[in-house]
């Protein structure tokens, strides 16, 4: 009989109670082989668990050995382990008792192959924690109703059974049956009268230190499975598990321990069905060569708290439950008090006593055998934190999630992304050293260009190896300066980023695509520029599409205008290779149209600061459109809009003045028209402060206009001299701000002109006037040299 030889332990992934019970059960059973739900490709890595330097939290990372080219979705899968994971305890037990341990889940290679060939195939989404799965939907490759409990935020923590598949946003369950499968524990909890499945599991299993729960879990799960429909992916996985089990039986092992998610217990316990059906089910499954390795992990990444749906909301709490030998609540609260004291918050022992009492009373009130995380948190909030949520947040981050960082021995194989980075860095002669080093890159050289791209890509992946810095001397569009410094924690960042892809370029592309899905307008334009800098042509269409969608919804004209310059730069200077410029131009045209429509409303009711901000946006947009004047027919319409606005009476002086200046410079308004308007603005009817704003708006960015246009100067002069003394004092700061921005020679020239105005003397001869007497042919000879000088001069500035 196989039943006597096989002992199936249904656990809850990352359940400390399960882990404790499992260790006790293993000690009692003393199995001669252990089968654990996990990728069989990792069998060779089991021995590493004996290495003391392999310190949880760690994760098994599986990735296709030869990632298909051109694919830029996330391909890697993770199986995280914490100290309190039953699977980890099984591993440790096996290596310390010298008992062979095998992983018995469907090989990861099948998963990858299924995903490659058939995005929504039957194998899809069975399995490991694939941080990708829960979040990958935006990348387009993540149609993966990925299954394993470990990762799904949907079934976070409650997967007792769970291999309850996580469901990404786009594949929400549409029937009650699906829901049951996704969260079988919820069904059980409901039957037991609990509204929160998490709490039910904690009460019934995790908080019990006496009875081994496995028999009860198996029975309950059998009842749940009966009601749930069979899912192909489960059947295939369980068929594989049974095959592994049969092999172990055949080898003559007498006490076989199977550690799997509770959901699978009914499929593995009892007499095994004939092997033929299982073999048929598994026959012909596509497979991809897969590599598996250990990587360091963090508690933060285990927790859905920080966005990685590993399915454990409170790893710190679980870790504590598993490691505290007695009085878990009191020890926990003492720990919390310690963290608060470190932050200089007054917490006394009396506080701790009171919070423990409150937690106990709450547990009684709620009819729970022991205070759980909910009770302890309430007590912490009400007593230790004085009801202050900010302090509670600190406790959540530092204690409930915890800041534990795992480690792997240096001889563990590296993740492919890290290898790709190493290879690229070596090729580009960049050393990963902790010392700060400066690099000036000449983007005209292919090697430097590649370096720049690599650093930009790493920044996109959250690995801040290089920081762009201002170059001290010599500036040109083809120069870029970086400061490089390598920190050890970048290794973990790389591991996390390796979920996005196996090479730096592919991972950066996937990351950008994902980020763009819910970024705001300014971020999106930034991303678009990053795509160009980091040369990620594949990400660009998605970013562009998101950008145009977001622009359609955004009603804030200032935000829209903020997006224009980057877009214009991309269009003008960018190397837009794979993307057609048409798409870029189309988005920009749409954006400018929206700005033109929204601008009239956006210019009124502004206070001083807001007006100043809008003025900058106006200038930047205007300049950007000038830049594109020869590419896109947007400038005329833009000027037309400005022209219609310039005479509105309700504009802040600064903006009215600025509009006038822009239009005059563009030639839309001639000198007479501009003069007329300035004259109107500088009359008695206009409050002097508004007028001063008008002058500032009109004159800022260059005073030569005053030097050359005598009429304007006269107007300004007359207005200024006509001001009453106290009014003059009031507007002086504004005027000073305006004139101080002029270059010194400009100021001097304006001053000289004013002196002449006062004396009524003749207009001094300016260089411009003399130009007419020059011989054009002779001048032409000087020009090339002059050009050379000016270009060099610009470079030096």
């Amino acid at each position: 009989m196989s039943t006597d030889r096989v002992h199936v332990f249904g656990v809850r992934h990352h359940g400390p109670g399960s882990a404790r019970a499992l260790v006790r059960a293993l000690d009692e059973l003393r199995p001669d082989v252990i089968l654990v739900e996990g990728p069989p490709e990792a069998d060779g890595l089991v021995a590493l668990a004996a290495d003391e330097r392999l310190e949880p939290p760690v994760a098994l990372l599986a990735y296709p050995t030869n990632a298909a080219k051109g694919e830029h979705g996330r391909t890697a899968s993770f199986w995280p382990f914490a100290v309190f994971s039953p699977e980890w305890q099984a591993l440790r037990w096996a290596v310390s008792h010298d008992v062979p341990l095998r992983f018995c889940d469907l090989p990861a290679g099948h998963r990858f192959a299924a995903r490659d060939t058939e995005p929504a195939g039957p194998l899809d989404g069975t399995g490991p924690v694939d941080p990708a799965a829960a979040q990958a939907s935006p990348t387009g490759t993540g149609h993966d109703p990925d299954g394993s409990a470990e990762q799904s935020p949907a079934s976070a923590g409650s997967e007792a059974g769970a291999d309850a598949p996580a469901v990404p946003d786009d594949a929400s369950p549409d029937s009650a049956e699906d829901e049951l499968r996704i969260d079988p524990i919820a069904g059980l909890a409901q039957a037991a009268g609990y509204d929160d499945p998490e709490r039910w599991w904690e009460d019934v299993i995790e908080h019990r230190r006496d009875v081994p729960p496995f028999a009860a879990v198996a029975e309950a799960m059998a009842a749940v499975r009966e009601a749930a429909p069979a899912i192909t992916e489960d059947l295939v996985r369980e068929a594989y598990m049974r095959q592994v089990l049969r092999a172990a039986l055949k080898e003559g092992h007498q006490r076989i321990a199977v550690v799997c998610g509770a959901w699978h217990v009914p499929a593995l316990a009892g007499d095994l069905p004939p092997a033929k059906a299982d073999a048929a089910l598994l026959k012909g499954l596509p497979s991809t060569p897969t590599t598996v390795t250990w990587v360091p992990w963090t508690h933060g990444r285990l927790a859905s708290w920080s966005g990685y749906g590993a399915g454990v909301t409170a790893p710190g709490w679980y870790h504590h439950l598993f490691t505290a030998e007695d009085q878990p609540v009191e020890r926990w609260l003492v720990g919390v008090a310690g963290v608060l004291r470190e932050e200089d918050l007054p917490v006394s022992s009396a506080h701790v006593i009171e919070s423990a009492r409150l937690a106990d009373t709450l547990a009684v009130l709620r009819g729970r055998p022991l205070p759980g995380l909910a009770e302890v948190t309430e007590a912490t909030r009400a007593v230790l934190c004085d009801g202050d949520d900010t302090r509670l947040e600190l406790v959540q981050r530092k204690v409930v999630v915890g800041e534990r960082l795992g480690a792997v021995p240096p001889d563990a194989p590296a993740v492919p992304l890290a290898r790709d980075l190493d290879a690229t860095a070596r090729r580009l002669k960049l050393a990963q050293q902790a010392l700060v080093s400066d690099h000036d890159l000449d983007l005209r050289k292919p090697n430097d260009l590649d370096r720049s791209r690599l650093l930009h890509r790493l920044r996109l992946l959250g690995v801040g190896w290089g920081t762009p810095v201002q170059r001290k001397s010599g500036k040109g569009t083809f120069w870029e300066s970086w400061q490089l410094q390598w920190h050890p924690e970048y290794a973990v960042d790389l591991v996390a980023a390796s979920a996005y892809g196996t090479t730096v370029a592919r991972a950066a592309t996937a990351k950008v695509v994902e980020t763009s899905a819910d970024a705001d307008l300014a971020t999106l334009t930034g991303l678009l520029e990053s795509c160009l800098l980091a040369q990620l042509p594949d990400a660009q269409p998605t970013v562009l599409r998101n950008l145009s969608d977001r622009a359609a919804l955004d009603t804030d004209v200032a935000q829209l205008m903020a997006a224009v310059p980057a877009l214009a730069r991309s269009l003008r200077y960018g190397d837009v290779r794979a993307t057609s410029t048409d798409a870029l131009a189309e988005v920009l045209t749409g954006l400018v149209t929206r700005i033109r429509l929204g601008l009239p409303g956006a210019l009124t009711g502004l206070d001083d600061d807001a007006a100043r901000a809008i003025r900058e946006h106006l200038d930047a947009t205007h300049e950007a459109l000038n830049l594109l004047a020869d590419r896109l027919p947007l400038r005329a319409e833009w000027l037309d809009t400005l022209a219609r606005l310039v005479d509105r009476a309700d504009l802040p002086g600064l903006l009215a003045g600025r509009l006038l200046r822009l239009l005059r410079d563009a030639g839309t308004l001639d000198a007479d028209a501009a003069e007329l308007r300035l004259a109107r603005a500088l009359t008695v009817g206009v409050p002097p402060v508004t007028a001063a704003g008008y002058v500032e708006g009109f004159l800022s960015g260059g005073g030569l206009l005053l030097v050359h246009d005598e009429a304007l100067l006269t107007l300004t002069d007359r207005w200024l001299s006509g001001l009453a003394p106290d009014v003059f004092t009031a507007v002086l700061p504004l005027l000073r701000r305006t004139f101080a921005a002029f270059a010194a020679p400009e100021r001097r020239a304006v001053g000289e002109q004013v002196r002449r105005l006062g004396t009524g003397g003749p207009r001094p001869k300016s260089d411009v006037d003399e130009l007419g007497e020059l011989d054009p042919a002779r001048v032409a000879r000087v020009l090339p040299t002059l050009e050379l000088l000016l270009a060099a001069g610009r470079g030096a500035r």
Binding site: R357, L358, T361, L362, L365, A382, C385, G387
Partner: protein, 362 residues
């Protein structure tokens, strides 16, 4: 002293224990769980009384269950309870009902003001008797707190932070030693089991008379939030408006729910500075625009409708009330309100009547 305030139907506002006497009796009768000493019912029953059971017991507090559980558990551990929150988040309401359910008496109340004397917290003297008899037990006038200590019931302190700090600190001995010495008589009043204190304080006024940390640590703090969702808030307003309407004997008003929803929407949007669809940012006025104010806008709207209108609450009946609640500062708030009307109310489908009425009320 309950005898002096009779629960006759002519009373303008009956106490919680009078209004809900039937519910309290039913809960206490059916309650077979252990009761803390001095409690009229078990903590579980108190929570049920506050949150309702969907059948016979009406919900007094609509909001997170865990808050009420923490509050009740706090009182069961004989720690004092401090209810914090912005004005109008049902702090007083909750404290009254807690006292009614636990002690059957919500009247032992000290109102904190800038002028609250120490006598209000400890005891005073009947000067005629003091002069005639000298300091005797008969000449002592017990404060509500002292009476609560003697009878083992709950004392309520409203607006604790409005009191001068020295008066606040008289609570220290009472809360830690559970005793109130009367040195003139050489006696003390030791609290009977069941005594406890529920204090309320206002978040907005923080820093006026901030509690000393010695006092602070004798309280467990529960922060009552503004209602989480529109639905929750509409339910609160609808329920309170209905019961207030009954108490004030206003004629039944049919279908006020549309206007309630509107009032709640306006209040929420202005409070959060964001329209319900999240598309438009708004300026927030200086007032708190609490749920309690929404309730009073609705009740006055109903009074208007029933006495001067045809009995149906219309936009015009609430518009002026809303404006009054929003515009507290006649300059800056008026701008906020006009902006809201022009940018939000005007465009919204089905709000034409409201927009027009609000413009007229300007």
């Amino acid at each position: 002293m309950t005898a002096t305030i009779d629960a006759t139907p002519t009373v303008l506002r009956p106490h919680a224990e009078q209004l809900y006497a039937a519910e309290l009796e039913q809960l206490a009768g059916a309650d077979d769980l252990p009761r803390p000493p001095g409690w009229r019912m078990s903590p579980q029953a108190v929570v049920t009384y506050l949150l309702g059971d969907g059948k016979d017991i009406s919900a007094k507090y609509i909001g997170p269950r865990r808050l009420m559980e923490v509050a009740v558990a706090t009182l069961a551990t004989d720690r004092a309870l401090l209810l914090l929150g912005v004005p109008g988040t049902a702090k007083t309401w909750v404290s009254e009902h807690l006292a009614a359910a636990i002690s059957g008496d919500s009247t032992l109340l000290v109102q904190g003001t800038a002028g609250t004397p120490e006598e209000a917290m400890r005891y005073g003297w009947n000067y005629a008797r003091l002069l005639a008899e000298g300091p005797t037990a008969g000449a002592v006038v017990a404060s509500p707190v002292m009476r609560a200590m003697r009878t083992g019931t709950i004392a309520r302190i409203e607006e604790l932070t409005r009191m001068p700090s020295d008066v606040q600190d008289t609570l220290l001995t009472i809360l830690s030693e559970k005793t109130l010495p009367v040195p003139e008589l050489g006696e003390e009043v030791q609290a009977v089991k069941g005594f406890n204190v529920i204090a309320t304080a206002n978040d907005r006024d923080r820093g006026v008379n901030e509690l000393s940390s010695a006092l602070r640590r004798r309280f467990n703090t529960v922060v009552l939030p503004v209602p989480g969702t529109v639905e929750e808030e509409v339910e609160i307003v609808a329920q309170r408006v209905a019961s207030l309407g009954r108490a004030l004997e206003l004629p039944e008003v049919p279908d006020a729910i549309t206007e309630i929803r509107r009032v709640v929407t306006v209040f929420r949007e202005l409070r959060e500075g964001l329209t319900a669809d999240g598309r438009t940012k708004l300026k927030s006025p200086s007032g708190t625009l609490s749920t309690a104010e929404a309730i009073s806008v609705m009740t006055s709207g109903m009074a208007l409708a029933s006495h001067f209108g045809d009995g149906t609450v219309r936009a015009a009946d609430v518009a002026a009330g809303i404006r009054g609640a929003v515009v507290r500062d006649s300059v800056s708030d008026a701008v906020v309100w006009r902006e809201y009307l022009e940018t939000v109310a005007r465009e919204r489908d089905g709000w034409k009547d409201f927009y027009r009425a609000a413009r007229e009320a300007e």
